[in-house]
């Protein structure tokens, strides 16, 4: 088993309150949480990554407790060793592709140099076809190149699992199918569990070995009648 989740979180103020109450166990290598925007998908993914602390409950990953409100356990994001692909990729605009990929390999107070090298960096530059744009900044890249840079940055640290936030929504429709195929092959190669949140039914079809449906902050195994 990878993720085992049972959490509660209330956000917003007195006028607009949203309550997230999510309980699920990840039972496949590839799990997709599907739901409309505003259902609480991003909150759920951020809680798993350690970027958002729930109000109460428990999160564990492969027998390691990441959060337990009863025990006062909270593992911060930097110690969770998950890869995270942000919806708009969140590439560092002041760093080139090479530096972005190497970012997590250097834990100190200084960013990697513009010519940072190393086996892992070179491997991912080649594997994701980024060799030619290695010296460019994110603003100069195409949508597909940005996404591949973000993927390389997430995978270079050999994460225990990959968390994906709407990974194809920022891409042109023509590019989506090709990119889904590429991600499919990539996941098969790295062999780590993947949890994706999406509002795109096609993502669910491609990657949803296990499908979870999120609506108004609650998860169910079956699709709610629209």
């Amino acid at each position: 088993m990878s993720f085992d989740v049972d959490i509660m979180k209330t956000v917003g103020d007195a006028r607009r309150r949203f309550q997230l109450q999510v309980k699920f166990t990840m039972q496949a290598r590839r799990t997709v949480i599907y739901g409309p925007s505003g259902a609480g998908k991003s909150l759920t993914l951020q809680a798993l990554a350690g970027l958002l602390q729930p109000d109460s409950g428990r999160i564990s990953f492969a027998d390691q407790v990441l959060y337990d409100s009863a025990q006062g356990t909270w593992v911060p994001a930097r110690r969770r060793a998950f890869g995270y692909l942000f919806q708009d990729y969140a590439l560092f605009p002041h760093l080139n592709v090479r530096q972005n990929i190497a970012f997590g390999l250097a834990p100190g107070l200084r960013n990697p140099s513009i010519a940072v090298a190393g086996e892992a960096v070179e491997h991912w530059l080649q594997a994701l076809d980024l060799g030619e744009v290695a010296a460019q900044r994110p603003a100069e890249l195409s949508g597909g190149q940005r996404q591949r840079t973000a993927l390389a940055r997430a995978l270079v640290n050999s994460p225990r699992a990959l968390l994906l936030d709407e990974p194809f929504s920022a891409l042109d429709p023509e590019l989506r199918t090709r990119t889904r195929t590429e991600l499919d092959l990539l996941l098969a190669r790295v062999g780590i569990p993947m949890l994706m949140i999406t509002h795109d039914p096609e993502d669910l079809e491609w990657f949803g070995e296990q499908a979870l449906y999120l609506r108004d902050g609650r998860i169910s195994e079956r699709r709610a009648a629209d």
């Binding site: 990554a49 994001a77 995270y84 708009d88 560092f92 605009p93 002041h94 834990p107 994110p138």
Partner: protein
């Protein structure tokens, strides 16, 4: 040319440089605090620290005399404990210039930090960085152009500080007399040629600083 003019220019640049350095550090720290931490009295603190922008410099000078003057509560303590007097020294001029110019860097720094995309900081945390590393590798580089533009304005403002500086540091030639005060003294004494030269030097320096600030200010990091 009169050598004392260059001594005055040197002193003015020294005072402005110190005031700029102090404001860069304090403005960055407090600007970050105001942008990122919620605490009671946050907006009140911002308002108080912005006061030097709207208060007459003479009022600020008076406040400073109350605090660091010979009989001020901090001034007396400094004198009794360490034998330090700030009144009528160039260090006193630095404090006056720092106070008057502080809102310029504070506003810029706060706005710059508020403009940093929180997703980038989250991405850095997920990639294993400590909070200090997130600040120095992501937050500060992203906010830097705004902070730097504000800092250059501080430098320009400090060069021209007059009222508070005159009250706190006086006008001792070669010791506390800065350019703007020297202009006033020269005009009072009817030394028009000296006044002319001082005015040209001050104006040119300020134009250069403003041009530099203008080049940095419009920079917006692309996503």
């Amino acid at each position: 040319m009169d050598a004392s003019v260059w001594i005055t220019l040197g002193l003015t640049l020294k005072v402005a440089a110190w005031a700029t350095g102090i404001n860069l550090i304090l403005g960055t720290a407090i600007g970050w605090l105001l942008a990122n931490r919620r605490f009671p009295g946050r907006e009140l603190l911002d308002a108080i620290l912005t006061l030097p922008f709207v208060l007459p410099p003479t009022v600020l000078g008076y406040y400073l005399l109350v605090v660091i003057g010979r009989n001020g509560w901090l001034g007396r303590w400094l004198n009794d404990t360490f034998g330090i007097t700030l009144i009528f020294t160039w260090q006193g001029a630095v404090i006056a210039a720092s106070l008057v110019a502080f809102p310029l860097v504070l506003k810029s720094a706060r706005a710059a930090f508020e403009g940093v995309d929180p997703q980038l900081e989250k991405a850095a945390r997920v990639l294993g960085l400590s909070e200090w590393a997130v600040f120095f590798r992501v937050t500060l580089p992203m906010a830097w152009p705004g902070i730097l533009a504000g800092t250059l304005l501080v430098f320009a403002r400090s060069l021209g500080e007059f009222g508070a500086t005159l009250m706190v540091a006086g006008s001792i030639p070669g010791k506390t007399q800065t350019l703007s005060i020297a202009v006033y003294e020269a005009v009072q004494a009817g030394q028009d040629s000296i006044a002319n030269m001082l005015v040209v030097i001050t104006s040119v320096t300020c134009i250069v600083v403003l041009l530099l600030a203008g080049r940095l200010a419009p920079f917006r990091p692309t996503r």
